[in-house]
Amino acid sequence: MAKIKPRVKVPKKAKAGEAVTIKTLISHPMESGQRKDRKTGELIPRKIINKFVAKYNGTDVFWMDMEPAIAANPYVEFSVKLSESGTIRFEWTDDDGSVYDIEKKITVA
């Protein structure tokens, strides 16, 4: 299976109190559990990312519960407003319990 790789678009600098748009993408098949194997006819077991969280300096700022109806390579876009510089951390939780993460620093002036 392809390597699961998160990609995020976060500005390096932001103005205090102003909206900052965050775009996130992670490569993941999001196997819905509805598809059948073409050869054997058996259902392919469900394996999706079921939770996505964004934390800023350790505080949850946005999160999302995901069902199998989220498209493969889940894309999420949202916005935050920040008052201090810090680190934004993104975590994706897989059905098998794996957590994929990435961090970015933002300087707030």
Binding site: S32, V61, W63, D65, A69, E77, F78, S79, K81
Partner: protein, 140 residues
């Protein structure tokens, strides 16, 4: 009516013959509304939620959608014509610049998307919007 295995095969064969068999089972409108009521704790009032989605999606495997509702702490998205109505729920906090988020979803076919917002004051609001799908998602 008791459904035997034989009946099921006969039915499946019949449906396949007329080219109707595509998805295992679609969530009904009732299942969707039941999910809405369970989530909202009653029937939400209509309006106050915006759903941004293409009128016609060529590929149901990845349909971009955006939801927003001023003052919402959570927005749940449902797809009334998918095998399961649930799609996902966005959670907003005090650090959210606005209660707006986008993602990409799977749609099994032409159907209504329903968005239910929970407001900071405890009230709930909902909206629905039809999306026409040319090619269904869910690997049908």
């Amino acid at each position: 009516m008791q459904m035997t295995r034989r009946d099921l095969f006969a039915l499946a064969a019949g449906l396949a013959a007329v080219g109707l068999i595509r998805m295992p089972a679609h969530a009904s409108e009732e299942a969707t509304m039941a999910a809405v009521k369970e989530y909202a704790g009653g029937m939400p009032e209509t309006g106050g939620v915006e759903i941004g989605a293409p009128e016609i999606a060529e590929n149901g495997n990845t349909v971009p959608i955006e939801v927003s509702a001023d003052g919402a702490t959570e927005i749940m998205i449902l797809a009334a014509g998918n095998p399961n109505p649930g799609v996902g729920t966005f959670h907003f906090t005090e650090m959210s610049a606005e209660s707006r988020a986008s993602t990409r979803i799977r749609l099994a076919g032409t159907q209504d998307i329903v968005a239910v917002a929970k407001m900071a004051d405890g009230s709930t609001k909902m909206a629905r919007r039809e999306v026409k799908v040319t090619i269904g998602g869910c690997g049908g």
